[in-house]
Symmetry: C2
Subunit: 419 residues, 2 copies
């Protein structure tokens, strides 16, 4: 029997080979494959649901928590969503091959950059079979070969999906190793995936923070990772307070569990008296617990005491930290100290305050007069999203197809020589 | 006495703090600092040369090889070059704060991206004091704080230079920790630098491949690294053979030791007979040893036998591997198998051959009708170069000021909410 290490390295070599063929592939071929996969999903509902049922039964026997079972389920609706997603991705413009503006050097040679696939992408995710299709499609459209490693509880569902993916690739004349699914539940497979720097160019983990931190600890392959989303809304002294209240309320209550959810509200002292009592009541009426600084607690009587720990916490739930600050500078400094560099917003009517906030807040997304819950690739118009990156290099914030590509230099001349 | 670990972490924290102040800094202030440093260099020739003399004496006592002593020397000419470099960098446009084209979403919010500094950059280099000034200047201009770790043989020279840097920063009102020089020769300092992910955002090593590979093995901080430059020129069947000969000759002989130097020449079989005998003689007359495949050796009688190892070797010297190939596809495939993804060029008059080569060769720079020795940030018009990256992510190929920055999303609205 071959070892996990050998097995994963074989997958890696096959992926690299497929990625080379993808460089010769037309957009039409890639789109044909995506559409064939969409047809395949719709035509194979029964088989998919049967495979999924095996996973669900095993999951129930293992007493998986209800939300986990829910995410594991392939319903008709999930299948429709997946096939619609594939058709949407087929319609997006192909990022590969586009050229940046180029310049002519004094010696007459032309210098530009071409957008190209990254190469081979490893995706590590939990037991959500819909991610299999989503990740496969985004990697394919951006010209990358992919190796997908989903949660072991979804293995049968993923194997059934991988059949459909493979048939779609075949129909379009693409190499079958363009998308490979790790078919073993052995955890060592992940260890190999994140360290095979010769075969894998980037790892994108999708899942909880603890999984991602653990992978990042051990990885040798570069990772596009999403860690904390400790997001702030700062209400400036020059804010429209009606707008500020609505933005803050939306930022917190759109969905508590999304990474763009506001976790701390910062309010300039000049508007705290006018804003906080009313807004505090609106939050607590909605079931949101407020934890405030001393000045906040004078204005929102039902507020609990906020400790230093609260400023650094991503609650992902109906709790909100509130702090009154002396100035815009104090707000920016608070965000620099406690924020996670994800998404932060200022509410203000004042141009210089907006500019200063945009320039000095060092987060992957910085907003003016918008709730932080807009942190999402679709909302940004990317047409797709493989995740949100909290990295500083390569891709920051929502990552769409372009984030799955890179640039190479292309130079054209007519025999110029270097002297 | 504090430990190296504590010492490095303190430097890291100070750098992070300085990087926050840099976000508020104008281009004018940064340029003022650069010009003050240039003045400082010119005014401190004697002190610099005295400090350098200590390093040179110690180096001679340790019998350092002559080329190393040469690179260690701060002559009047080196000092002039450094100060001219500073003035040049001051004149380059500031990449920070520029906005990409933005779009308006259906709900009216504006989505764009702003170019921002990476944050804190660690530079690790050998005993070349001029790199101290060069790296400090490029990091400063791009708005980054930097921690510089030069070779221990140059410590006294670097300390003298760091005084000038610090005075320049002071004169412009910038924090003195904007540029910090590691003042200990202890090798553990490097170990800390490449693993302090909380303080350092990227490491740029400058030096030989073995140093860089070793650092990459141990690093936890992302690295912009330069490994092999196994570069190819492919002469297509549709090449102008006069041009092809000149390009190949220039690509090899411009300078043997640069990373863009051609290491393997690939020639289409249809033009091998017309090209190789003459070109082979030109190379051997110039002192270049040819190692060829069987078909090459029939055309260049003085050629030695090339082994598989030759195809993968970066000679960095007067040796050239030559192979006759059946087709453009075979050339691309050879480059994919043996190349290092650095810089590769096709010589052809045929548009589709040029396009296919440009698209399918997966290297950081792909040329048409140009010698590979153009691989250089100044030649590309970047105005400056911190190095050449063989990474696939973030920065590929020559890295100028833009490669030392990243993009953040900036969104502007007027109270739009997410439903």
């Amino acid at each position: 029997m071959i070892s996990i290490k050998e097995h994963m390295h074989t997958m890696g070599r096959q992926a690299r080979e497929a990625s080379r063929t993808l460089l010769k592939t037309s957009s039409q071929q890639k789109n044909d494959a995506l559409l064939a996969m969409a047809d395949g999903l719709e035509d194979s509902r029964l088989a998919l649901k049967a495979a999924n049922e095996i996973d669900l039964e095993a999951g129930k026997a293992k007493s998986l928590p209800a939300p986990l079972l829910d995410r594991l389920t392939l319903s008709d609706k999930t299948i429709d969503t997946m096939s619609a997603g594939l058709r949407q991705i087929a319609e997006l413009p192909d990022p590969v091959g586009s050229l940046t503006a180029s310049t002519i050097r004094p010696n007459g040679m032309r210098v530009g950059q071409m957008r190209v696939p990254i190469g081979v992408i490893g995706i590590i995710y939990e037991s959500r079979p819909n991610v299999t299709i989503d990740a496969a499609a985004l990697c394919l459209k951006s010209g990358n070969a992919s190796i997908l490693r989903g949660g072991s509880e979804a293995l049968n569902s993923n194997l059934a999906l991988s059949l459909i993916v493979r048939r779609g690739l075949q129909k379009a004349g693409l190499p079958s190793h363009t998308v490979q699914i790790v078919e073993t539940a052995d955890r060592d497979a992940v260890g190999e995936l994140i360290t095979m720097t010769e075969h894998i160019d980037v790892i994108i983990p999708r899942g909880g923070k603890s999984l991602i931190s653990r992978l990042a600890e051990q990885a040798r392959v570069p990772m596009i990772k999403h860690l904390d989303g400790n997001c702030h809304v700062y209400v400036d002294q020059h804010a429209d307070l009606i707008q500020a209240g609505d933005i803050a309320f939306n930022a917190k209550t759109y969905r508590y569990g999304v990474c763009g959810s506001m976790e701390t509200l910062l309010v300039h002292e000049a508007v705290a008296v006018a804003l906080l009592p009313v807004l505090g009541k609106r939050f607590t009426d909605h079931g949101v617990t407020i934890r405030g600084c001393d000045r906040t607690r004078q204005l929102i009587t039902q507020a609990e005491v906020a400790t230093t720990e609260d400023w650094g916490t991503e609650y992902l739930g109906p709790i909100l930290a509130v702090k009154v600050v002396d100035s815009l500078g104090a707000a920016i400094s608070h965000i620099a100290t406690y924020g996670s560099g994800h998404t932060d917003s200022i509410v203000t009517k004042n141009i210089s305050a907006a500019e200063q906030f945009q320039r000095e807040v060092d987060s992957s997304s910085v907003y003016v007069n918008l709730p932080t819950c807009f942190a999402d690739g679709f909302e940004y118009g990317l047409g797709a999203e493989i995740g949100i990156s909290t990295n500083r290099l390569h891709a920051r914030g929502p990552v769409g197809l372009e984030g799955l590509t890179t640039l190479k230099w292309v130079l054209e001349g007519h025999g110029q020589l270097r002297l």
